[in-house]
Amino acid sequence: MNPGPGIVYTETVVWAPPEQFVNDAPYQMAIVTLADGHRLTGRIVPDSEGPRVAIGDRVEFVEERSGIPFFRKA
């Protein structure tokens, strides 16, 4: 998967995760509007790898980790 770059449509930082992600919290997720207009829900890289993002920020695709698309601020 390589959805390419996009723009943050909306985002949140999750503090109360579902059971399978208890070790990841807090984590930021975002809905990203891609170049073709489609939207994709993914994660923003952990704080150790880059800054958090806000609506309107440009992001680039990093890689897929356990089936989850990860983005970071461009």
Partner: protein, 386 residues
Amino acid sequence: MREVAVVGIGKTAFGAFADRDLRSLAVEAGEKCLADAHVKPSQVEEFFLGNFAGPSFVGQNHLAPYIAGAMGILGVPCTRFEAACASSGAAFYHAVASVAAGLNDVVLITGVEKMTSQTTPKVTEILAGAGDTCGEGRAGATFPALFAMIARRHMYQYGTTHEQMAMVAVKNHENGAKNPLAHMRKVITLEQALKGKPIADPLTVYDCSLISDGAAAVLIVPLERAAEFTDKPVKVLGIAQTSDQVALDEKADITTLSAVVAAAKKAYKMAGVTAADIQFAELHDCFTIAEIIATEDLGFCKKGEGGPYVASGKTRIDGEKPVNTSGGLKSKGHPVGATGTGQICDLVMQIRGDAGERQLAKHSLGLAENLGGSGATAVVTILGAA
């Protein structure tokens, strides 16, 4: 099509009940409802059950005949409806259709959920199953996260503030504190709501509805037979169920619940009323932002003005259009499968004049909005004094 009336209601308290199982809650609500309408189990001609996740929460399937049988309702159609948090709203919609079409006369609808036997992370995971588990769910979206992303976008597009969202929680707790059947009967301050434990930014624990156990039941009959059961029948004036995409990232505009817009349009038309005519409402405040958006999408205020609308005090119990005099999902509690029928019970109590210290002066025309998931199912019902 025949006109339909609600002639009986029955609710359990909503709360965390370690000693109660799903079936006993559903049976209690159903029996209270039948007693309210002076109906014997043998008179019930059809049974509709609203339940979101009994199989996941308590490991029980085949729930409709399981509950009906325990009440002595046998030999009739018994069917479970699952539409996430709109499960019993959807069950009610289809029950009304059955009576309106003339298939059956005396129909019981019960909504139930038993949630508190699981840990919060497990409940969060089960609830996330009402979203797209291949997309947003795989990425780690919880329901608070989905509504947090809706809130962020609404704040960005319309300038809605977290303080306005917190005002929804403060208002609903003020009402719920006076509801003897509410889960969390306590008043909260704006400061408390703003400084609550973070769940999914910007939502704090005070922006989120409760994880609850509970059941609520409604009995409907053709309006022409209502006098056999009650001297205070309540008429179903308008009802509509609509749908939208399940995944948030597939919706055109996440600041609008388009299924609610569509359902409201149909229900208003069927009832022959407008948003301005509605005197009071029970809205689906699964999260505070959801009540703000619902007031916009139902036409109580203009798009984008839901924040200032709640801040104006118009939706307070002493305002011009009180919203969630029951305490809403925020304070009354949100046993998800019971929420739709619970809202119908709350409207009926107000219309009958039986709402105690929360009784409104203008209470002859009420609206309920029941939402499933992040808006993939919506049921809007308009009830009035018959």
